[in-house]
């Protein structure tokens, strides 16, 4: 059996080690609760959202 999670575009930054293994076509043995990735929303905290910026 398999579970597939699809995240919206640019919603998550997956942990680098998982991406690196997958890019070598290598599966990673993991357990429930291990870290998968971080929300990009949070990863980008501190950066101004240019769309909301107003020239004064």
């Amino acid at each position: 059996s398999t579970v597939i999670c699809v995240f919206e575009k640019d919603a998550i930054e997956i942990d680098e080690d998982l991406l690196a293994n997958s890019a070598r076509s290598l599966e990673t043995l993991v357990y429930v609760g291990m870290k998968l990735g971080v929300s990009k929303k949070q990863a980008n905290v501190g950066l101004p959202n240019l769309q909301n910026c107003v020239l004064q």
Binding site: V3, C5, F7, E8, S22, E27, T28, L29, Y31, G37
Partner: protein
Amino acid sequence: GQGSSREDSSSASESSSASSSRRSRMKQRLHRRRHRSRSNSSSHHKHLAAEDFVGIALLSLLRAEMKFKDKWLACLSFGEQTFRTHTSDQTDKPVWNAEKKLLLDKNGPRVARISVFETNKMHKNTLIGYCEIDLLEFLTRELESDSSPECETLNLLDPSSPDKVVGEISVSISVEDPIETEKSFARRILSIVDYNEDGHLSLSEFSDLITAFGNQVAANKKEEMFKAADKNGDGVVSMDELADLLAIQQEKEPLINCCPVCGETLEVPDKLNHMIHLSLCFDEGTGKQVMTGGFLTDKQANYGWMFKLSEWAHFSSYDVGLNSGSSGSHILVFDRRTKRLVEELIDGKIALSMRAIYQSKLGLGLMDTGAKELLQSISEKQGRKMNSVESAKDIPTFIEFFKDQLNLAEVKHPLEHFKTFNQFFVRELKPGARPVACPERDDVAVCGADCRLTAFRSVDDSLRFWIKGRKFSVQGLLGKDICSSTFIDGTLVIFRLAPQDYHRFHSPVSGTVEQFVKVPGCLYTVNPIAVNSKYCNVFTENKRVVSIISTAEFGKVAFVAIGATMVGSITFLKKEGDHVKKGDEFGYFSFGG
């Protein structure tokens, strides 16, 4: 009838034998081999030598006479395979009339063992009697006597006291005409690769056939071979022309390098042996044989040959030590906890079968001949079995088999708690057995299952490195109603569970469950061999349930639980509108269809 008469064109008298009986042609073939052997070695053989022992034997289990009434089935074991008949009615004179073709090979097995079981729905089948037949001895005797009987009655012996006769079984053994074997082989492969069913092979159909035979010749070489085969120059290859090609080309430069059904490499340069092997494999694959088979032992004969197409074959055969020794193939996995590469063993035959079926157009063509339904039916049957009280007795064996990979200390309930195997299979773990990373931070997503994981920033990456099914798309996976444009370019994480894994899945994020959509489908294996096949689209064709979790930190997350061979039952523990916290139990997979 093209092939074998050409095999030894020096013998003019043989061509006149075309109208003789099946057995006499076999005798002539054997005679030819003896003659060749004599002229080569100058030695004289009064009896059949081992090298004469080749061909297809038709062995029929006709009927038996037992000493009490019951429901009976018989198993025929030959070499590494076992085949079984259907179960008779309640009687002391069961009639099966079940026929099986067996490959007689000079280096292969000679002794066939027949076992007769009484069956009982509530208990295991019980072996009542058995007998053994030395086929070489039987057929040699037949050849030396022109009036040898087709049918023979053999005593069935008590397995615990072999001196005691517990019944009789009637069998018939004959030899298939080699010319007929070659003819039917050419007819059969033509019909399988002849996609437009016009009775001829076009160049592209011909190319697919050569590829399916494991032949890596270049495209221009294929075209050259095609032109050579197309003797009358009509632009297509007919059955006769194909048979000619197989006969002539195979002797010059082997055309058939591997069997497209079982994946076995055909190394012995013997055209007839190849055809016999392939004919038997095709018979097995298309279910045309009266007896079903493909099992290693008569114990396994209660299961279907389709087990070979799934990693779950391990499950049915954990007590025969399949995944050991040099026959094992490997799937490499990186253990994130220990930071080491580990090998997952898979039986070589299973891997080859899966490759042959899932990674070839020809193999998947076989799937269309009823195998999908068979996978469904096997899974449903297995579900019923694993929900029965009797199945609980399999739990200790399963634990022993996977002892290095199962940690019973973390299981919530003691073993006595599990009344069926399925209950054990979906076992809960003790609180804290799976610590959740950064529990207070909902912006950190976690792994949703004990599994082998692959993750890709985009679908394009997933197609480049992992999913090779040509028809894979996020829209196909999620369905039109759920799929939005942001998912189409989204990030993909694949959690693959293996038989020994903890089978509950957990939510990777915190949020609200918006909806569940059930998508019906097949139950192909989700093994990487199938996922990596360009012909097979397991993720978009398998049965699945798509759920959407709405989150504050990640937007919407699609969570797709996909069923597979044997483990096709998907249960969710949350319902629409429920709030889930990351790490919460979300559902489980269990045995069933």
